[in-house]
Amino acid sequence: MQLWLIPIFPLAGFLINGLFGKRFSKGLVNVFAIGAVLLSFAWVLKTISGLGDLTSPYTEHYFTWIQSGAFTINWDFSADRLTEVMLLVVTGVGLLIHIYSIGYMAHEHGPHHGGYYRFFSYMNLFMFFMLVLVLGANYLVLFVGWEGVGLSSYLLIGFYFTKKFATDAGNKAFIVNRIGDFGFSLAMFYIVKTFGTLDFNSVFSRAAGIPESTLTLIGLLLLVGATGKSAQIPLYVWLPDAMAGPTPVSALIHAATMVTAGVYMTARSWPIYTHAPAALETIAVIGIATAFFAATIGMAQNDIKKVFAYSTVSQLGYMFVGVGVGAFSTGIYHLVTHAFFKALLFLGSGAVIHSLSGEQDLRNMGGLRTKIPWTFWTMVCAWIAISGVPLTSGFFSKDAILLAAYQHAPWIYWVGTITAGITAFYVSRAMFLTFFGSYRGHEHHIHESPAVMTLPLAVLALLSLAGGYLFPVPAFLSNLFPPMEEVENSSLMAISVAFGLGGIALAYLMYAVKPALADSFVSGIKGLYTLVYNKYFVDEIYDATVVKPLVGGSRWVLWRGVDVGIIDGLANGIATASRGVGGVLRLVQSGNIRSYAAWVVFGSVALMVALGMLAGGAR
Amino acid sequence: MDAFIVITIIKLLVIAFVLLTAVAYLQWVERKVIAHIQVRPGPYRVGPHGLLQPLADVIKLVTKEGLLPSYVNRPLYLFAPFIAVAMALLSIAVIPFGPTITVAGYSTWMQLTDLNIGVLFILAVSSMGVYGIALAGWSSNNKYALLGGLRSSAQMISYELPLALAIVSPLLLSNTLSLRDLVGSQAGDIFHWNILKLPFPQIVSFIIFVIAAFAETNRIPFDLPEAENELVAGFHTEYSSMKFASFFMAEYLNMVTVSAMATLLFLGGWEAPWPAAYGSSLVPTVIFAIAGLIAFYHASNPPHKLDRYTFAATGVIFLIIAAIFLAPIVQSWLLPLFWFLAKTGLILFVFIWIRGTLPRFRYDQLMGFAWKFLFPVAMLNLLVTSFLVAWRS
């Protein structure tokens, strides 16, 4: 089926725009960038229709990448139904966001700051690596994509590299991801040690015969990698800062695709996890903790993108819960629907920011409902979807997770349900503050975004509403993952829906009907609010416990002590000694060629004398 | 063994005598041809139509005082003309003039010696010929001579490359390095000659060869080493009498050699252009007969009084020669010799003809022409030829 064609188009787009984009007009850049993703999407569709039923994975071998003794790593791509789902999400949502970016980035220019072509070449590079990640048939190829998306994420977060906070955010994302990747690498080493291969098929088919302790260790190490990439506790801190990048980047990378890589990877590794229940349990706990924790922070944020960033962290927590309770397909289901409505939320907020010429603070918005109706109505779709209003896509996926969680452990269900209420509350808060009430800012030229931006919004709005029916992911993936019990529990469903609607109502009361109520409520729980507003001081704690000691240790012990004292001392000592010896040998180097020749002749004479004596002795 | 040595000595003497006479007369022919191109009679005083002019020249050069300038590097100054003429004569040794002949029971080749690497031998010897000119230029201790010598060595090194490359293509077609076998491979009609042989006619390499040969022999339009208006007389400024004559002789001998080479490599050597069955053996007879008749015609209305007799005598001689060509005993070796000499003479005539028509190159043009035009074209031709030869086999 030529799977390699899928990622090769964005790579070509990246190379063309990256190498020659400087000379291209914006239109030409668009043609290559969008065209690459469009071709890729088209090829995905053709592949999926061509692969048909796909009960067993379809693998294509390209070349042997690493060969060392019996250990071989091939550059293989494979496709099963999970891959197909991911391919559709990545290329489909990616295509919409690329189109949207034409409008959003239209005002970017200049070689230093904007670099229109730079943006699109990075986006294409990201698409390439993300597709490699999804298509890879073994952990190492997956890891190539994994690191590649990290690189493109870094490049795009630091897109405005003349601003310090952007580059800092890029560095932070990169470094925090390194910690996760460290765990991932260790996991791969263990897999190689245990299985002797990194190939998915052979690893998974043999997982049943491996001791549980080993599998738990591998599972936990993989989880470390997943928490880094998918922004789970304790490595979630980079994601909110990553909003420094342009909004389409936030939508594509930090909401819809890259951050779900951790979920994808853990779901992909389900044969390992099913034999390591402890690791699976850890995933569920971390997921639900992250979901709740991030949701509470989301309530107190004033930056519209920060709200959605914490919302993303929280929703990713849901996906982990889905995976962690053993309902792998529900996690993927939520991944898909979340990609629709969260991308829509980000793109909508981007449209808001765009129409307000860069304003991001909720306190300076308000009453935009009539001024930018397209944006408003599309965002409403996302709003009700994320809030779990019945019959929207978010409702189905979230409910599936919560039901599975209830079967696994009821307390997870209850925490999840409360979180759902909180989620509905803070998203509604953001919506009310943005679109209702009266306008509190200074901007006078509020304008609706161009069609090239609103059209993707409309498509995503449709998907947010109807995505639950259109893509019945659990049914589609049912033969891939271990079967789950089909449960219908309408009371539990009703409870979670009630929590969601309650959250919306509360937000309506506090931010639309009586705005003063919110302020008085905040002043009532001032201590708690400060704690939440400052994100539980997690960044500060990390700074004090990890960053400061590391920097200090590096400076005083490693630099002054080890580097200057021992290593430099050693090197300088060797150099001094060599110079002394060289000073003696220099007398031989007279610079006179004839002297050198005499030495050569002397050497050959000596050699011949020695040879003659040896030969004589031998006789 | 003894017979071999005797025959070789006889051949040596014959070839040396004929060749040196021919060279002397080549000079006469050149003067005559150029004179006629310039519409003047040329040498006319010594002998009928100046026919004895070469003899007079030889006598003049031999009896002239041999000057030995005081400032020259004497050993090399004396050695240089010797090298020049020796190398020119050496290459004649391997050139075959015709097939095997049988005289008084002994059969031998019309060739001094046959090497199975004859072509390489000629290349080697001709590359040594540079020394004569370069050393002459240097040992004269004269700036014009030095510049002439420098120019000639640079020119000859440069043009040796396209020359060698042009030679390789016909060698590929013939698949031998022996000059005798080379002719053997071109036997038949004109379409078996390398210049027209399939799969790839060597017209281009023939032209390159001739151009490079002009440069190798320092002939117009490539006679930069002896450009008299820039360098007085170039490398032989300081030479006189027989030493000067040696250089002169070497140049004409080299002309003969390269013409013979061109004949052997491209024009089928002594092979007739079409088979004897279709009357090619009658061609010399016809030519000489016509020449004799023309001579008789001129004798009947002579421009000068004496011509009545000289023309008549010439006509008789021509008719006798025409008759000799009909004799079956001599035909076997006289016909190949005729064809060989006719082709070589044709190329020699081209040499003279071009001297009478073309101006001289500028020095940088000369070098640029060799490196930037001739060399790539020769290379391309070689590539195509070798590809086609490989394709065919």
Binding site: S590, N592, R594, S595, A597, A598, W599, V601, F602, S604, V605, M608, V609, G612 | N73, L76, F79, L115, N116, I117, L120, F121, L123, A124, V125, S127, M128, V130, Y131, A134, L135, G137, W138, L146, G149, L150, S153, A154, M156, I157, E160, L177
Partner: protein, 166 residues
Amino acid sequence: MDVVLFLIFAFIAVVAAINVVVQTHPIASAVSLIGVMGSLAILYLLLGAEFIAVAQVIVYAGAVMVLFIFVIMLLNAGAEVKRGRSLLVQLLGAPLLIALLGLLAYFVQRIFPRNVTVHFGGFTGGSAQAIGRALFTTYLLPFEVISLLILIAILGAIVLGRKELD
């Protein structure tokens, strides 16, 4: 006959080689070296290496030495100046040289007995055809590499000879 030929040309080669070393003027050395090469070519013929003999004349005598003479003429190099500074060579040069020659001759005489002899026609494998065949089969890779080397040498010479380079 073979002995006579060998002795004549070996004698010429040695005398010319001594001349290369003894002559103070480069051009005299160069002409002597051409003499060495020419006589070596004859000895190659004696050893049955006809292609190598011709290549010796074409490449060494006809091209390399022409270059030498060309450069000598271009630089107008005169007789060399006696201005040595190498004490080592002055003291040790001659003894070392005699030792080298003595050892080489000793090894040759000891290792190669006199019963292996050379006569003209004793070996006929050195034809152009044989060499070409070996060159394009066994020695194809060295042949290609060496053509690359020539290309690099041409480029190097051109770069070094450029006027802008000082």
